[in-house]
Amino acid sequence: MGIRLPFLKRAATFEHGIHPAYHKETGSLPIRRLAFAPRLIVPLAQHIGKAAVCCVAVGQEVLRGQVIADPDGFMSLPVHAPATGVVEAIGLMPSASGKMVESVTIRVYEADGQEVQVGTPRDIDGLDKQELLLAIQQTGISGLGGATFPAHVKLNVPPETAIDTMVVNGAECEPFLTCDHRIMVERTQDLLRGIRIAMKVSGASRTVIGVEDNKPDAIAAIEAALPTDGSITVKALETKYPQGAEDTIICALLGREIPAGQRPASIGVLVNNVMTLAYLGRLLPAGEGIVERVLTVAGPAVEKPGNYIVPIGTPLRFLLEQVGARSSAKEIILGGPMMGTTVSSLDVPVTKGTSGVLAFGEAQLAGETQRSYACIKCGECLNVCPKFLNPSQLGLLAAKREYALMAERYHLDRCFECGCCSYVCPSHIPLVQQFRIAKAVNRERAAA
C-alpha cells in the first residue's frame, strides 16, 4: 500500500488493487480485419437471458446481417448471420464454457465480399424511448466487455429509479487487452453517438468517460470530439487493476459507493462499456445487427498479436492459425488473464462477449503451478481487495469447508472474483477458486 500525498494531483482511482505487468503492446496497432473462417459456429445463447429461437433451416442460404434467430421475449436477443453462406447444421455444439449449446453452423461462401447485406438505415433522432429500446434489441448487442447483459435491458431504466449519471467504462484494466483502447481511438464518433443514444434512453443528464492514463491517445481523441455543452466529460483514471469493475470505476469517477448487494442504479448511476456503446452508435443508425466484433488476440505464444475484427462464430482454431499461434501454446484464455476463462477445445467459437483470446505457453504456467504454502497471514490480500473483504479469513474458512459462515459473516457474496487476492498471495493459495466453490455450494444448499 502506498502512502498518499494529497497535495499531488493524481488520476482518479479507488483504494487497493494491484499493478500487474500490463503488456499493452498491441495498444498501438490499428484494428485489422481477418479472413472469414470456412465455417462459422453461431451459438443462439450469447447473452444473459433466454436463448434466441432459430428461424432458419438446414440448407437455407443466409445473407450476412440476416436474422437467423429471433429473441424469445424481452430478456433475449436476436442472432444475425455473421457471413453469407449456407446453413449446414443446427444443433448442439461445444461452447467456451465446456457445455454443449444450440448453435447454427454456417458454411461461408468463399467469394463473400464481407459487406453486410441486410440493414435499413433509420433516423434515430425521431424515435421515442420505447422505439429506441426495440431498435437496440434488434441490433442484438449485449455487454461487449464480457458481461453479455442485453444492452436494451440495461438501458431500460425503470421509472422509479432516476439515473443522473452514466459512467462509460474505458478503463480496460485487464492486462494484454487493448481492443477498447483502439475502439476509443479509431471509432470515437461511433462511441459518442452511442453515448448520446444511451443517455436519451436511460434519461441520464451527464456522462463521465473513465479511461486509464496509460491510454493518453484515447483520452486525447475523445476530448477532441466531446460536445461543447459539457454534458459528456472524460476523466483519466490511474492505471490499476481492477479499475474497470463497476464498484471501483464509480468510486474513482464519482466518489460514490454502491450499497452492498445493490445495483449501480440505486445510486443513480448506469455503467456501460465503451465497446458496447461504440457498436450501438455504429449499428443503430444503420439498422444493422451485430455480426462481428473487435477483439484482442495476444499472449506470449502468439506471433502476430493485435486487434482484429472477427466475425461472430469464428472457431478459435482458425483465429489462432491466422495470428500464428506457436506450438508452445498451452493455455488459451478467453478474456483477460485476471478474470478470463480457459478453454479445453479450439473448436469453440468467438461470441459477442469475447473481448480477447490469449495464448500462454509453458513459461507462464510455471508461475501458476508453483507449490502452495500454508497461509502465513501476511495480509497482502486485504491490502489489495477492492471490496475491502478479508480473503485471508475467507480462505482459512474455505479450507475448513465453513461455507455458510463465509457468506454470513465475511461477505463471501460481495466478492466479484477479480483475482487480486490470488495474484498477490505469496503462498499460492487458489483463493478465488475456493470462493467460487464456496459460492456454488451455498447456492446449491439454498436451492435444496
Binding site: M338, T342, S344, I376, K377, R414
Partner: protein, 344 residues
C-alpha cells in the same frame, strides 16, 4: 496442442513465501555482522549454532510428520537468526541449541508448522531458556573486548548441564574499562543511571547479541518496509505508543522516568518492533487490528519495564499481543465497500 484448463487469475505477482522469508534473512545479516564485530567468535558461534539447531529441529519434524522438506521456505532460518540475536552474546552454545529446538518444536511444529503458530517461535524459544537458564540469560559480555576474535568468551563453550564458568575473570583479563555486567535498562532500573545517546549509536552498551545498535536495526527495518516485506504500520504503532507513554511518564516525573528516546533505544524494543512484532503469522491482518496490536505491544513494554519485576518487557509484550491477535482481528473486520461497519 494440449490444452490446460485453469481458473483465473492466470497471472501471479511472483512474490512467494520463500522470497519474503529470504529477504528478511538478508536484512538481518548486517545486524549479525555488527554483532560479530562487537563480540567476535562467541557471537558468530552463537548465531550459527542456534540457526543450525532450528534447521535440524525443523528437518526432524519434517521426517516425523512426513510433511516434505520445509527448510526451503526459509522460515526456520529466520527463527534461528532472530532467536540468536535476542540472546546474550556469550550465552552457552548448548543452551542456544536448546533454545533453537524449543523455538521450532514448541513454537511452531506443535501447532502444525508455518503459518499455524499463534506465537512468535523465536520468542517462545527465548522464553523457554529464560525460564530454564535464568542466570545464563542475564549474564552479559563486554563489547569490543581485545581478544574477541581470537578466543571464545569462556561461557560460550560451557559443557552441557554444567555451571557455566564466570566470565568476570575473562573480562578483567581483557582489560575492558567500566564493564558493569548490567544492561542500560537494569542500570536505569536499579541504579537510575542512563547511558548517553552516543553509546547507543556506537553499540558501547551491554545487551543481547543483536540489540545494541538501534540505528542499524532501524535501517534494516526500513529497507524491509520500503520493499514491502514488512507492514510498516506495526513498528510505527509499537514505537509510537511506547514513545507517547514514556513521554507522558517522563513529563509527569522526569527525575524518576527516563526520556522517551532512552525507552526507544534500549533493550529489545527496536528489534522487537521491526522484526518480532511484524512476524506475519502471529500478527493481525485487519487494518484496525494491526494498529491496536502494535499499540498494545508498545504500552505493555513500557508498563512491564516500569512496574514489572523484569528490566525488559518486549518479549512478554509481544507474546501477550500475539495471543490477543486473533481477537483483535475478529472485532475489527474491515468495513466492506458499500457496507455498514460490522460489530464482529
Amino acid at each position: 496442442m494440449s490444452m490446460e484448463l485453469r481458473t483465473s487469475p492466470h497471472q501471479h505477482s511472483g512474490r512467494d513465501v520463500p522470497v519474503i522469508m529470504r529477504n528478511v534473512v538478508y536484512s538481518l545479516l548486517p545486524i549479525c555482522a555488527f554483532s560479530v564485530w562487537q563480540y567476535g567468535l562467541s557471537a558468530a558461534a552463537l548465531i550459527v549454532t542456534v540457526t543450525l539447531a532450528c534447521l535440524v529441529a525443523e528437518r526432524i519434524n519434517n521426517r516425523i510428520s512426513g510433511a516434505g522438506n520445509t527448510l526451503s521456505d526459509w522460515s526456520a532460518t529466520i527463527t534461528g537468526v532472530l532467536l540468536a540475536l535476542t540472546l546474550p552474546p556469550a550465552f552457552p552454545l548448548w543452551m542456544g541449541a536448546v533454545a533453537g529446538f524449543a523455538a521450532i518444536w514448541l513454537g511452531k511444529s506443535l501447532f502444525g508448522g508455518l503459518g499455524q503458530n499463534p506465537f512468535n517461535p523465536a520468542l517462545i524459544g527465548r522464553a523457554f531458556v529464560q525460564a530454564a537458564f535464568p542466570t545464563a540469560i542475564s549474564t552479559w559480555a563486554p563489547a569490543f573486548a581485545a581478544q574477541r576474535f581470537g578466543e571464545f568468551i569462556p561461557s560460550s563453550l560451557a559443557a552441557p548441564f554444567m555451571a557455566p564458568p564466570d566470565i568476570a575473570s575473562w573480562v578483567r583479563q581483557q582489560g575492558v574499562d567500566a564493564f558493569t555486567g548490567a544492561t542500560p535498562l537494569a542500570r536505569w532500573k536499579f541504579e537510575n543511571i542512563t547511558p548517553s545517546a552516543m553509546d547507543f549509536l556506537t553499540g558501547h552498551i551491554t545487551a543481547s547479541a543483536g540489540e545494541t545498535s538501534a540505528i542499524l536495526i532501524l535501517l534494516c527495518g526500513l529497507y524491509l518496509a520500503a520493499r514491502k516485506f514488512l507492514d510498516w504500520r506495526i513498528p510505527v504503532a509499537v514505537l509510537g505508543s511506547a514513545m507517547l507513554l514514556a513521554w507522558a511518564f517522563h513529563l509527569a516525573q522526569p527525575e524518576r522516568y527516563p526520556t522517551p528516546l532512552f525507552v526507544l533505544l534500549s533493550g529489545g524494543l527496536m528489534l522487537g518492533a521491526w522484526f518480532m512484532a511484524t512476524d506475519m503469522a502471529t500478527s493481525p491482518v485487519t487494518p484496525r487490528g494491526i494498529w491496536l496490536y502494535g499499540a498494545l505491544i508498545g504500552i505493555l513494554t513500557v508498563v512491564i519495564r516500569y512496574f514489572g519485576g523484569l528490566t525488559e518487557g518486549v518479549m512478554y509484550a509481544i507474546l501477550i499481543a500475539n495471543a490477543a491477535g486473533p481477537l483483535l482481528d475478529q472485532f475489527n473486520q474491515p468495513r466492506i465497500l458499500g457496507g455498514k461497519r460490522d460489530k464482529s
